[in-house]
Symmetry: C2
Subunit: 487 residues, 2 copies
């Protein structure tokens, strides 16, 4: 007998087929698309995205979901799907279309404004995007403030007040820690041997490392882009991208380890549940925990380089000239910088705290758009002790707001905290700690598969962390990690 | 005022968006898809193909077409669209689905049967595909015999009787010419210097050549596949593929020149008409004329190598050791071989004549499936004077029948004939002949753009050839070309 739940799964599968076809188009757009192909490609992407949205908000879907709830099969999954369906259907098509246009114009205006460091040219777009974000929040509903509805779209269960409490407590501790780490780095001269590090050798080395972490190249690959990302084109097809700097092989390597962290998560989700919350990543904060864990906790650790520095030296002969200690000092260098994406582990979260503070006040209306540059610079001085030389290296540096992505930023720091907490819990097991000390990461991956990947998106992020580590989410492991590495 | 024709164009544009998204998926499948991704990718492709078919056969489309005919705008284009629409709607969905399954199973069975040279294992699939082809022919309708309806899908206006008359007249002349060319080659020892020809150098050289022919890399690119092809992913996005043999750089080069010929045609179709017959290639026989023209008439000519052999020698230093005459002798070598895709220009068409004769008799029922291997070998002996050692190198060598592609083969030889006739007409103009003699192909491309590319698929293939060359399609230019090159 076909149950309502079977029908719902069939509908979800069709939507996943269409949505993942859009991902193929999007991937090609970033990797191989010739210059003149962009406008047609955008039409293909728009058609597929609209069709996927239409399928996921259809009356047939609503009926099948209601019937699934009534028959009582898979209640937790049905509840997750109800939440998703209500979220999607609460926004009228007209608003979704308006947002797509505003976000597309916003991105263009932002890219131009950043080039000339002209915030005033971007401001009207940010106003429009803010108004749309507030309208979405009103339609979705929230308990305390509109920002709650926005952040919940990226990190289920997170609230502005909860994040603020966490970040406020973190701020002085992170600031002191970062200042001390920077001072310590300044007293030590540590540099990688000069390039060139040929791209072909970087590609070979990166692939060797990614495979050793468990990234499955039968179900994925690595290509080249300007902005690295990870995208999933099907249940067994995960694409990583990176970019190359011939002067520094660690740039593409840590990029690949970061994206491979995302990719290992995607490859670890249950294939048969693809397109359902039970086969989907839990949240951005959980996704980022996987990328940060592999990039920072594994990739910048001593045991990793005890094994891999000699291998790297085979690909890049100039590395024979550097000791392991000097190499580690070079990759653990901390310094205050203006740009988030160039920041090191020790200073990164300060960039996020700043953004969260501003965007929360923007959404509530407490901060007006025209005052963003001044507020940014003031907050930057407070946290970093220096003033951005221009808005291009200040409030115009990130793409997120220009796409209407308000509520996205805090998930980066939540990811860092989750990464440290998960890594500490995993390595409290002697068999994992022992394997890690030999740069054998199969036990670590096995633990993550079981405690994070296999769980999908039915439990909340906080439930996943608590079940995996035995404690609710907390910043202590992250602070302890930074202290031990940087001080 | 919006006319019915405007509406029809809008509908056609949407179908083109969807169909070209399927092409992106198909391209990725052949180039970059990781092994485990195939089954999901097939589902994406099936969904998109079905959706494109649905859009192109919808009641809305039919109504808009009828209204366009009634309002009398663009009558020639409307007639071409009527023909396409009737063809598509005459086949019930059930038959289309049945054909897709039979063709998918057929391909699998063929691949396995070819490996073990086991025709009996493939025979039931060919029976099923033949029955479906006959059923399609009955539904489409034909004047003389069912084969007419099938070949017309690839080559508008072609008929079995017309092709047979042409091929019957060609056969003795081609056979004698091929035999003489083979004998002449056997008396001359001409070989390329030994490899390796590094792949990176081949890629650089091929790209340089393709760009010099006029292939626009802002609107296209070249990637690597097992089976070279050209596909169009949007009005300004044409993808070529090739494969590399480190022992022979001419293999990928002529492959790229062949595919670039297809690509130049696609890039030359009117962008604004993409998805309409006025923006579509006229037929397979016209498409193949473009690939053969650039591969053979240009790429294997003396003036081309006068310019490019010294350039090639910069990429591949071993070429400094060969004279232009010896090089030309090597690339003009003729020999009888069992496999069509390895055949040279002088013997190629004999392979096609054989296939046309067999498939025409298969469709009419004159030849039964079980007798195919014997009939193949008999015909092969008659044309080539030798017997295939097994069916893998005989009647099982090609994929076409296993996909139900009956009526496809003759378009290869029609393409050769058209190529020669077009090239002769173009080079009868002194300014084109002079430019060609200096390996400057801009005037030639300009002529093809005007007389072939810009015309789309509204005129028939025969009309295009006659208007471009001043004479109806004829084999004389091809025979004259082969004679002058090989004898």
């Amino acid at each position: 007998m076909t149950t309502a739940f079977d029908l719902l799964r069939t509908l979800a599968r069709e939507r996943a087929v269409v949505a993942s076809a859009a991902s193929v188009i999007g991937w090609d757009q970033e990797t191989y698309l010739p210059d003149d192909g962009h406008s047609w490609r955008a039409d293909q992407l728009a058609w597929l995205s609209e069709k996927a949205h239409e399928l996921g908000t259809s009356a047939a879907w609503g009926d099948a979901l209601a019937a699934t709830e009534a028959e009582g099969s898979a209640p937790a999954l049905a509840a997750a799907m109800r939440r998703e369906f209500d979220r999607a259907t609460k926004l009228p098509g007209e608003l979704v279309a308006r947002e797509a246009v505003a976000s597309s114009l916003g991105k263009q205006a932002w890219a131009a404004a950043r080039k000339t460091s002209d915030f005033a040219a971007f401001a009207p777009h940010l106003e429009a995007l803010l108004a749309i974000a507030r309208e979405k929040a009103e339609r979705w509903g929230y308990s305390a403030e509109p920002y709650d509805a926005l952040v919940d779209a990226y990190e289920r269960g997170a609230t502005a007040a909860g994040i603020a409490t966490l970040f406020d407590a973190l701020q002085p501790r992170l600031r002191d820690l970062a200042a001390a780490a920077v001072e310590r780095s300044n007293n030590r001269d540590a540099k990688l041997p000069a390039g060139p590090y040929p791209i072909a050798a970087q590609q070979a080395f990166n692939a060797e490392v990614a495979a050793s972490l468990g990234f499955d190249f039968k179900a994925g690959r690595i290509d080249t882009t300007t902005h690295p990302f990870c995208t999933t084109l099907g249940p067994r097809d995960v694409r990583l991208t990176t970019r190359y700097d011939e002067g520094d092989f660690t740039s593409s390597l840590f990029g690949v380890m970061h994206e491979a962290g995302h990719g290992l998560y995607e490859q670890g989700l249950p294939d048969a549940e693809f397109g359902l919350p039970s086969g989907d990543a839990a949240s951005l904060g959980i996704h980022e925990s996987q990328s940060r864990l592999w990039e920072n906790h594994v990739g910048r650790s001593r045991p990793f380089w005890e094994k891999w520095l000699p291998v790297a030296a085979k690909h890049f002969p100039q590395l024979a000239a550097i000791t392991l200690d000097d190499f580690l000092a070079a990759i653990h260098r901390a310094e205050f910088s203006y740009v988030r994406v160039e920041a090191d582990e020790a200073t990164y979260d300060l960039h996020i705290l700043l953004r969260f503070g501003l965007e929360r006040r923007l959404v509530s209306g407490e901060l007006s758009v025209k005052d963003v540059p001044a507020a940014w610079n003031e907050s930057f001085r407070d946290l970093f002790g220096m003033t951005p030389p221009d808005d291009a290296r200040g409030c115009l540096q990130d793409i997120h707001w220009s796409m209407g992505g308000l509520g996205y930023f805090p998930t980066y720091t939540l990811g860092n905290l989750n990464a440290a907490q998960l890594f500490a819990a995993a390595t409290s097991r002697p068999e994992i700690a022992t394997a890690n000390s030999k740069a054998d990461y199969a036990p670590l991956l096995g633990w993550l598969r079981e405690h994070v990947h296999a769980r999908g998106a039915v439990p909340t992020p906080a439930e996943i962390i608590e079940a995996a580590t035995g404690s609710p989410p907390s910043p202590e492991a992250h602070l302890a990690h930074l202290k031990s590495r940087y001080l």
